[in-house]
Symmetry: C2
Subunit: 289 residues, 2 copies
């Protein structure tokens, strides 16, 4: 019983109070971080960009050879039931799929485990996010994560430590670096806008998570005729950029106003980031379901 | 309820059937791999090399700023109660400590969470291990893990994938490589014996887990006047070595007889590895408690 936890969760077919939702201590998600997750935003009670998140869930599971316990349409039905049961107008639906629980602990999993599927709701402002007006501060630091960051696994300890280090410096996100090159944020994709108004985003690879929101924003920017370059960029480029912003399922498009305490883009949210955020919100509302 | 799971587990002060032992879905061990673990071997109903494992547990927890919910002596008392309750003559006591459960999911953890402590028993032959007589086969592969391998965290997905890749090749352990250099096994420390009978072991750093069994074996070898070198070594050196062996809490000292299908040390367990295993078993029995 987790005092203070609110709402209804889904655990392997059952809808239960989140405060009492539990998994076996033998679950490989608990013992080995042997699982994947997705976070879907909800606006006006509707799931945002759902196909993209479900496709990424299927890809992550496939990369780890974890069978999906339900079809993607059925999973979306569970997400919608979580929205309904929690009367979730705005917030997030968290979904975690693990390889399941064995009868004992062994690195090597039997092939016939029954996967564990858990969902719960997180009510919070996502469209109406007060942080947008002031932008966020980020702290750069070495990227300590493993080599398969393209899999959205629950092995998130490096990310959690990065968030803590950022918070200790008064920042809301970590800008992770391999040498001088930016990989991504602890829970977001980084983008810069160059002096000649090109939006620069690192291409997908094993080094970064393929961002659903990043992909949607790139498509929307392309529709508007904005220039986009898919290439890696350095911390120095970010510091000198016309604008810096992040994208993620929970922050959508969020302007960055300082890096390591130094103002970027004059220390105020950049106009292109705000325009892309508006475009994304309109897309989210238009396509929500 | 996990059908087939046997014995008694400890979960935050309660002793419960392992099949029914559960943690909250909000536990950060489940959501973020935000936890650490230790595995203590048991021979003749006694814990092997307990001080060393408890010291490493304390170090891992300190590195992540997870407070210990009990003193180390109290934790050992719980381990002993798990041995007693499970009538564990020979096997392993698994212990996992996580940062605990928040009321919702956020990368950034509140500072006042109550840690989660879970223990359970794993009966299995450890002193009487049939694999020793034939030795094990290992498969080399790139080390995909994060940069803080000195912390014994439950972020073990890379290790689990390595074990699966090794098993698919008919091997019992993975030999993890950074470039041509051996880091360690997926769940063990690698050692080689050179042509002039020097035992070579990689020194501790952020790149490898500080092995409790490795340290004890090195001390025992030193007492016998055996030559020891603490340095990194390459896959090519391992292939050409007089002997190769691994150490871990569950395998103690285990000879390696093939690497990537090619015999090492003539394809039979090496005499020095077997001697060190005997020394370790005598130490384990002498100091067990």
């Amino acid at each position: 019983m987790i005092e203070g936890a609110q709402g209804t969760a889904y655990v392997n077919g059952d809808y239960v109070p989140l405060a009492q939702a539990r998994v076996s201590v033998l679950d490989r998600g608990f013992l080995f971080a042997d699982g994947v997750y997705e976070v879907a935003a909800v606006i006006d009670g509707l799931l945002v960009d759902s196909d993209s998140h479900l496709a990424r869930l299927a890809r992550s599971a496939r990369e780890l050879a974890i069978p999906l316990p339900l079809g993607l349409a059925e999973i979306e039905a569970v997400q919608k039931e979580i929205v309904r049961a929690n009367a979730l107008a705005e917030g997030l639906v968290y979904l975690q799929l693990t390889r399941g629980a064995d009868v004992t602990r062994d690195f090597l999993a039997p092939m016939d485990l029954k996967p564990t599927l858990v969902l719960f709701a997180q009510p919070r402002p996502v469209a109406a996010n007060a942080a947008v007006a002031r932008g966020i501060a980020v702290k750069s630091m070495p990227d300590l994560r493993w080599a398969r960051r393209d899999i959205k696994s629950v092995g998130l300890l490096a990310q959690a430590l990065a968030k803590r280090e950022a918070a200790a410096a008064g920042c809301q996100e970590a800008m992770l670096l391999e040498g001088e090159v930016v990989t991504e944020g602890a829970s977001s994709t980084f983008h810069i806008v160059t002096a000649d108004d090109v939006i620069v985003t690192r291409p997908n690879s094993n080094s970064v998570l393929p961002g659903c929101t990043s992909a949607a924003v790139a498509a929307l920017a392309g529709e508007q005729g904005l220039a986009i370059a898919r290439r890696a960029f350095t911390l120095a480029e970010a510091r000198a950029a016309k604008e810096v912003f992040i994208t993620s399922a929970s922050t959508f498009v969020m302007p960055v106003v300082t890096i390591d305490g130094a103002p970027v883009a004059g220390g105020v949210p950049g106009p292109l980031a705000l325009r892309l955020r508006d475009l994304y919100l309109a897309f989210a509302r238009r396509t929500g379901r």
